[in-house]
């Protein structure tokens, strides 16, 4: 039996008295793009924090390829092939774009800095310090830092936010392409439904820190629960 | 024992009035003001000079006003032009101010020490729980309590308190909301400097005036500010009182290590709760 690439069991996280995540189970098979949606404050970013080792007080189990990595630091998780992007852009403001991508690649020539620069339209500012980029460009740099070095499991927190429509679609294609070529596994948090519905194999919906629905794009799109809690008029 | 407790309160109270100005300025400008000790010193000298002619209270008033004006000038002339740069630069400028003010005092008031006596109306002792204690020292405690109360009320119940906290976190955004951050900062620095001046005058009957007197107390203030949590007024009060007591009882019970205890305390507190104190500052 093969293990799911990414698995979370009974994940919970509290902020003081407030439970942001309650007993959430999640299992993403290798090579899948899993959408993670839900209203604001549903706990999506919190879930990513728990999976990626950023959260401090949490409970449950996190497994990658069946191996329990709950005790691993965020650094160790990256070494095991897990990478993430941030909803609040997290880059190295005074370093140039290229420099920080080289850093993120650990100077491994196999990680194709130039390729990533090209894929994310960042090549033209590779020598500019990151704090001189526009917001959207910084968002793409944040994503590039996660993509570099061919992670096996990619956790993306609203990567298309702040991008133009065209770029969001390019990004969607890129992700699908990477999954196909490298066989990576993606957990994608996104409010842009065009992106989510166009590339996600399955979608998990969170609400109030709990699992609401999980299913194929079609199932989620038509679920009355999801429509009322999240999609609103946009449900087509 | 009781008297030693009171002694601790007096020193703590004095430290508080001086430190709270440091906290105010730090909170707003993210700057550790090295010139604060010098403001204390100049305040004491001005108070002394005026008091010679017009009495202690006039000296106090003159010093407070003069220091407030100096505070405004400091803010406009130094802090504001540098606000877009690394706070470290401003720290450096306050260091420069310190040198200038010390030299100024040496030139104007001379190098000899000056000793100020307690104003006659406040001299004498008060009988208290069967002990007698200098009245002036009791007043120092009272004034520090009033300062805590007044400042907390001002910052909590007037809008300016919110603006101070907001602009210290993010001046640009606060400005976008319609807060004149320049004015807020001038007021705050003026109040901080005035408090330094006030504590200088209050301290002058307790310690001899000299151009370098600011340096002796500055480090104690740093400890208070840091242990108290950098931009917390209540924290600074507790820390000042704690340092006051530690200072006293250290001398009584652990004389050989007394001068190192506050530093050890500071190290312990910082290691125990670094996040509570470091915030997002980078000075």
């Amino acid at each position: 039996m093969t293990h799911p690439a990414l698995q979370g069991i009974a994940l919970s996280r509290r902020y003081g008295g407030f439970a942001a995540l309650r007993d959430v189970n999640l299992s993403v098979p290798a090579g899948e793009i899993r959408g993670l949606i839900g209203p604001n404050g549903a706990g999506k970013s919190t879930l990513i924090d728990v999976l990626s080792g950023r959260a401090k007080q949490w409970s449950g189990q996190v497994l990658v390829d069946g191996q329990d990595i709950g005790a691993c630091s965020s650094r160790a998780r990256r070494k095991l092939g897990m990478a993430r992007s941030f909803q609040r852009t997290s880059i190295f403001p005074t370093r140039t774009v290229r420099d920080q991508l080289e850093l993120a690649s650990h100077w491994d020539s196999g990680s194709h800095v130039d390729e990533v620069l090209a894929q994310l339209n960042l090549a033209e500012f590779q020598h500019q310090p990151a704090n001189e980029l526009s917001y959207g460009d910084q968002r793409r740099l944040d994503l590039a830092l996660a993509l570099i070095g061919r992670p096996r499991v990619l956790l993306l927190d609203e990567p298309a936010a702040g991008l133009t429509m065209q770029e969001s679609l390019d990004l969607a294609h890129l992700l699908r392409d990477l999954v196909k070529r490298w066989g990576i596994t993606v957990l994608l948090v996104e409010h842009d439904m065009d992106v989510v519905f166009s590339i996600c194999d399955r979608i998990t919906v969170l609400n109030l820190g709990e699992l609401l629905v999980e299913g194929s794009a079609q199932e989620v799109r038509t679920s009355p629960l999801v429509i009322s809690a999240y999609l609103g008029r946009n449900a087509a | 024992m009781t008297i030693q407790l009171l002694n601790g309160l007096v020193y703590g109270g004095l430290l508080y009035i001086l430190s709270v100005g440091l906290v105010l300025i730090f909170g707003l400008r993210r700057v550790v003001n090295f010139a604060h000790g010098s403001l204390f010193m100049i305040g004491a000298y001005i108070g002394y000079s005026v008091a010679v002619y017009a009495g202690f209270y006039a000296g106090l008033a003159a010093s407070v006003v003069a220091m407030a004006v100096l505070g405004v000038l400091l803010d406009i002339g130094v802090f504001r032009p540098l606000q877009k740069h690394d706070p470290l630069l401003t720290v450096l400028v306050t260091f420069g101010m310190l040198l200038i003010l010390e030299d100024f005092a040496r030139t104007v008031w001379g190098k000899d020490y000056i000793s100020v006596t307690v104003p006659p109306s406040l001299s004498g002792n008060l009988e208290l729980f069967g002990f007698s204690y200098p009245l002036y020292r009791l007043l120092v405690i009272v004034v520090s309590l009033l300062t805590v109360g007044g400042l907390s009320a001002w910052l909590r119940y007037s809008a300016i308190g919110l603006y101070v906290r907001a602009s210290s976190a993010d001046a640009v955004t606060t400005g976008m909301q319609g807060v004149n951050t320049d004015r807020v900062s001038a007021i705050v620095v003026a109040v901080g400097a005035a408090l330094a001046g006030m504590s200088g005058v209050i301290a002058s009957p307790l310690m001899a005036l000299s151009p370098s007197m600011g340096g002796y107390i500055l480090v104690d203030c740093f400890i208070v500010v840091v242990v108290g949590g950098l931009s917390s007024f209540g924290g600074a009060f507790l820390a000042a009182m704690l340092i006051g007591q530690i200072h006293n009882f250290g001398i009584v019970y652990l004389p050989t290590a007394a001068s190192a205890i506050p530093f050890v305390l500071m190290i312990a507190v910082l290691i125990w709760r670094p996040n509570g104190f470091s915030g997002k500052s980078s000075a």
Binding site: - | L92, G96, I100, V219, F222, S281
Partner: protein, 356 residues
């Protein structure tokens, strides 16, 4: 020797101009050569003494500066390592009977290890909290040497008559300004060269990135505590080297050397010189000492004038003296090499025709 240029000697600056930066080793060699010839050019022993003291201060300022530049950490307590280096040299020379070479080695090694251990605890903090912590640690050491009357002489300080030969050289070599200047200057040049190389190395870039955003550095797979602790230890080592040389030259050390005001002036020198440049702190130290000395001869009010100079430099040139030099250099080379703008993506940038 500034900026993160790699082997390519042209660097893109924010304003989009090419800049010619000679390689660090060339500068280091030039600098050492300069140091060797200077004693032959300068007349009168006073200038050489001043330069020697200035170079020793430059080592201290550099040790503070490297921490700011690489880690963004501002230490108010680096005089500790300088002072400990000096005290250890003195104490070991006085009473250990060890060979001088070993003494010097230990005098640098012990503060370095101490720095490393302290750093493991304190570099977790940043900002003012870090600064105040260094201040507190430094004051505790200051208290120790101050109170340690039997061994360290308390506030009277420790003076030791130096042995007649030190690491195979006659002791007088270390005590004459002319020869000591060459030793200190060469040491400084080598250290600066090392720092320039370090800041371009992977480790140097990593530490700098951690300074920018520690959390992200962890999430791209780096350990972040150890590299910072290493840099701290490195800066402690530079301070200790300075302290060791200080003792060899002066034969005396007192607790004042460990006082926070000493750390404070080192910080002033580092920032006035431009802490964002490798050579900045050293320049700051030399200029600061020179100005102070010149003013001290002129007027009793040197302190106020220093204060004014300090304010003028900081307000007028926030990037420090090295920043001014860099700007002048940029202008010079631009004139020599022609105005080469790096073409940028946006056409907006190239409408610069009407910018000036």
């Amino acid at each position: 020797m500034s900026g993160p240029a790699t082997h390519s000697q042209r660097e893109v600056t924010t304003s989009g101009h090419a800049r010619f930066v000679p390689p660090a080793w060339v500068l280091a060699l030039l600098s050492i050569g300069f140091g060797l010839t200077l004693p032959h050019l300068v007349k009168g022993p006073t200038t050489m003494t001043l330069l020697t003291q200035g170079t020793l201060n430059a080592l201290l300022a550099t040790s503070v500066g490297v921490l700011i530049r690489q880690c963004g950490l501002v230490s108010f307590g680096h005089a500790t390592f300088f002072g400990l280096g000096a005290y250890l040299t003195g104490l070991l020379l006085k009473s250990s009977g060890l060979p001088t070479g070993l003494v010097l080695f230990l005098a640098v090694l012990v503060p370095t290890l101490l720095g490393f251990v302290i750093a493991l605890v304190i570099v977790r903090l940043s900002g003012v909290a870090f600064s105040m912590l260094t201040l507190a640690v430094a004051q505790v050491f200051h208290e120790i040497v101050l109170k340690w009357r039997d061994l360290a002489g308390g506030d009277d300080g420790l003076s030791v008559s130096l042995p007649s030969t030190i690491i195979g050289l006659p002791g007088s070599v270390f005590q004459s300004a002319n020869s000591m200047f060459v030793i200190c200057w060469t040491t400084l040049s080598l250290i600066l060269f090392g720092l320039a190389v370090f800041s371009r190395s992977r480790m140097g870039r990593l530490v700098h990135a951690i300074r920018d955003n520690e959390e992200r550095a962890r999430f791209i797979g780096y350990e972040t505590l150890l590299p910072r602790a290493l840099v701290f230890a490195m800066s402690a080592a530079i301070g200790a080297i300075g302290g060791t040389l200080f003792f060899l030259y002066n034969g005396f050390v007192s607790p004042d050397l460990l006082h926070w005001t000493m750390s404070g002036s080192a910080l002033v020198m580092a920032i006035v010189g431009g802490a964002e440049f490798v050579v900045g702190p050293a320049i700051g130290a030399l200029v600061f000492l020179g100005v102070k000395d010149a003013l001290g001869n002129l007027t009793e009010h040197w302190q106020a004038i220093i204060g004014v100079v300090l304010i003028v430099i900081t307000v007028g040139f926030p990037s420090g003296l090295a920043g001014i030099l860099a700007a002048v250099w940029r202008r010079l080379t631009r004139r020599l090499l022609g105005d080469r703008k790096i073409a940028k993506r946006s056409s907006v940038r190239t409408v610069e025709g009407k910018t000036q």
